[in-house]
Amino acid sequence: MNQDVDYPKLKQELETIISWFEDSNHNLDESFEKYQRTQEIISLMERYLEDSQKKLQVISKKVDSQD
């Protein structure tokens, strides 16, 4: 799992951008930049969650083998 990823912070940033989009009349260039950032954020968040799932499976198997 990527230890550097701050999931709650990423989520907050994503929600801020979505709120930004929900307000009309934005500069198109800025929209591109923001859109691109959302793709990066979503990718980081997805990777974080996939890593979490894998880590959970490893811990769960380890505990089972100790029983």
Partner: protein, 383 residues
């Protein structure tokens, strides 16, 4: 016939005492107590009488077995003595009530006196160490009581150390020996856990030492806890009443004093099983708790991750709705000049380059003319 010698009173007294010392060094006299007086709280004067005679007696109050009163039948042990000034008397060494009536009367008087002093109060009773490690046993080594006691202790609890104080349990010296033994046990450097005093049954007269005030007070004053067992069928003796614990017989004393090795072992085995069961139950309980906790946590974590992933899906949908590239897919183009998006023809500059973005790529063009209704452009395709 030779003339008889004429003696002085002093000589007569001296000779008489010599004769008495040889012919009658000690005597017991039993009779009715009369002219009973205590002087200076120290000296005792009394007469013993029957129908025809009266004998004066003198002694210290410290030899009294308890309170006495006029009319009681008593047995005095002592030395006949002719005093140079006060005449003939018995120097009392022992004095005991005798005859059932007097013994009972003396017992009741002493019992009442000691009771009023609080010596029999329940709140004076101390608990005995169980089992004791070592005891001071006060009894006669020759008695059946001793043999019974030792036999039972050895069968039940052979680990007990016994310090024996071999004493007379009846007779003239019994009281003194018992009192000395109690004192010695209390002062012994190898302090016992307990004093045990035992004796077999007997008549009230035989047991009189255990109704004696001096013996009773020595037990009451003992720093070591006391267990007294006198085998008899009659009322309780004062030594038993004042003891911290009383047993009905010497054998019973051994039984209450130490546990049975067999039953202790049995108890230990039971306790061991019980503890094992408790540990096992606790282990099972904890294991099932952990197993449940693990399942709950894994399922909770999975739910959390799934819910986060679903949230991301929703975010994606929302973001896609705002995707600027969507407008290109619908056939529109984006015109940029000098790095910025230009939305109005009026903002374009003639003879400058513009970049046009389309769905599948883009191209650069130079603006030749600007028509607010029509814009002529020279196309330079680029990908």
């Amino acid at each position: 016939m030779a003339s008889e010698p004429v003696l002085t009173p002093t000589d007569f007294v001296a000779i008489t005492n010599q004769v008495l010392e040889v012919s009658m060094p000690h005597v017991f006299i039993e009779g009715e107590l009369t002219n009973y007086k205590v002087s200076k709280n120290k000296w005792l004067y009394l007469d013993l009488k029957d129908d025809q005679a009266k004998v004066s007696c003198f002694g210290s109050i410290y030899i009294l077995p308890g309170p006495l009163e006029e009319g009681m039948k008593v047995k005095v042990g002592g030395r006949p003595y002719l005093h140079p000034q006060y005449g003939f008397s018995i120097n009392i060494q022992t004095i005991q009530p005798s005859g059932e009536g007097s013994i009972k009367k003396a017992f009741e008087m002493l019992k009442e006196k000691l009771k009023n002093e609080g010596l029999f109060d329940e709140d004076r009773k101390r608990s005995l160490p169980f089992p004791p490690k070592n005891i001071s046993l006060i009894t006669s080594k020759e008695s059946a009581a001793y043999a019974d006691f030792i036999k039972i202790v050895e069968n039940r609890w052979p680990y007990l150390q016994i310090n024996l104080y071999d004493v007379q349990v009846q007779g003239e010296d019994a009281v003194n020996q018992i009192v000395k033994a109690v004192t010695a046990a209390n002062n012994s450097p190898s302090m016992s856990d307990l004093i045990v005093m035992i004796r077999g049954g007997g008549s009230l007269d035989d047991l009189s030492a255990f109704n004696d005030e001096r013996v009773t007070r020595s037990i009451a004053a003992s720093r070591l806890p006391t267990l007294v067992a006198i085998g008899h069928e009659v009322d309780l003796l004062l030594a038993e009443m004042v003891a911290d614990l009383r047993a009905s017989t010497p054998s019973h004393a051994a039984e209450v004093m130490v546990p049975s090795r067999g039953s202790e072992l049995e108890g230990l085995v039971k306790t061991k099983h019980y503890i094992n069961q408790l540990i096992n139950n606790s282990f099972i309980e904890e294991s099932s708790y952990l197993s449940l906790a693990k399942k709950t946590l894994v399922s909770g974590m999975n739910e959390k991750i799934s819910s986060a992933l679903n949230l991301i899906k929703n975010y994606k949908k929302i973001i896609e709705a705002y995707n600027p590239n969507e407008i290109l897919r619908r056939g529109y183009s984006i015109v940029r000049q000098k790095g910025g998006v230009v939305g109005l023809a009026a903002k374009l500059d003639k003879n400058t380059n513009v970049q046009i973005n389309m769905q599948d790529g883009g191209f650069e063009a130079t603006i030749e003319s600007i028509n607010l209704n029509k814009i002529k452009i020279r196309k330079e395709f680029h990908k």
